[in-house]
């Protein structure tokens, strides 16, 4: 009798989508509710780790062709970019701004440049966690 991981893999396919959606919710709700870039990034990398547990490392690398080390660099670039963007308007470094916009579907929404900084945190956390886990898991 050959063993297989059918139950684990099928459940993972459903659960990963729920975890990813919940991490995005945590990420975007971070300004008004508990959450933010760090927890959202950790939840996303938790979903990716679940994929790594259920499937092997090559399948995940094929279906998600990200270089997580470059992701850390992009995250740092986002963080520095939003900080340095304030310098163009003659205000101190890391000064943020927000305004209300009437988006199509969403209605009146306040958009804040702190979200861009949070995207930087998010990408750094996902990149760092996945780099650590793939480096440890990949050495044979």
């Amino acid at each position: 009798m050959k063993t297989n991981d059918l139950i684990l893999q099928t459940t993972t396919k459903i659960a990963v989508f729920i975890i990813l959606l919940f991490s995005l919710h945590i990420f975007f709700a971070g300004h008004y509710y508990p959450g933010g870039g760090f927890v959202g990034g950790l939840l996303t990398s938790g979903a990716l780790v679940l994929l790594l547990l259920a499937f092997d490392i090559k399948t995940v690398a094929n279906s998600l062709p990200f270089n997580f080390r470059i992701m850390i660099a992009i995250g740092l670039l986002f963080a520095i970019g939003t900080g340095a963007g304030a310098l163009f308007f003659n205000v101190p470094f890391l000064t943020h701004a927000f305004d209300y916009f009437n988006l199509p579907l969403l209605g009146k929404t306040s958009l804040h440049t702190a979200v861009l900084f949070d995207i930087g945190v998010y990408l750094c956390v996902v990149g760092a966690t996945m780099t650590i886990i793939q480096t440890i898991g990949g050495s044979e």
Binding site: M1, T3, I7, L8, T11, A15, I18, F22
Partner: protein, 114 residues
Amino acid sequence: MNVVIEWIIAIFVLLGTFLSLVSAFGVLRLPDVYTRNHAASKSTTLGVLCTLLGTLIFFYTSDGVIQSRVLLGILFIFITSPVAGHLISRAAYETGVDLSNYSVRDDIARDKKK
């Protein structure tokens, strides 16, 4: 919040804690890994579901909002907890943990001989 809904919430929460307590007793008292796992994964799932359902009804009646996180938690535990139980049991069987003396059937061993 009227009395009937308060009673419903109390019954759900108490039922959930009771089922969790029952599963804790099951983990303590049952003889081997598989029966303990059966007790832990099954009745704890239902216990947590009942408690979360009580929470959901409480927040709906007191604040008028359906807490989507609680709803998601119910769904997620309902999906993942039995799978976790299955994986623990299978890992135990694959590493050769024996069944208790009371067991009379072992279908996996019979199928593996074929």
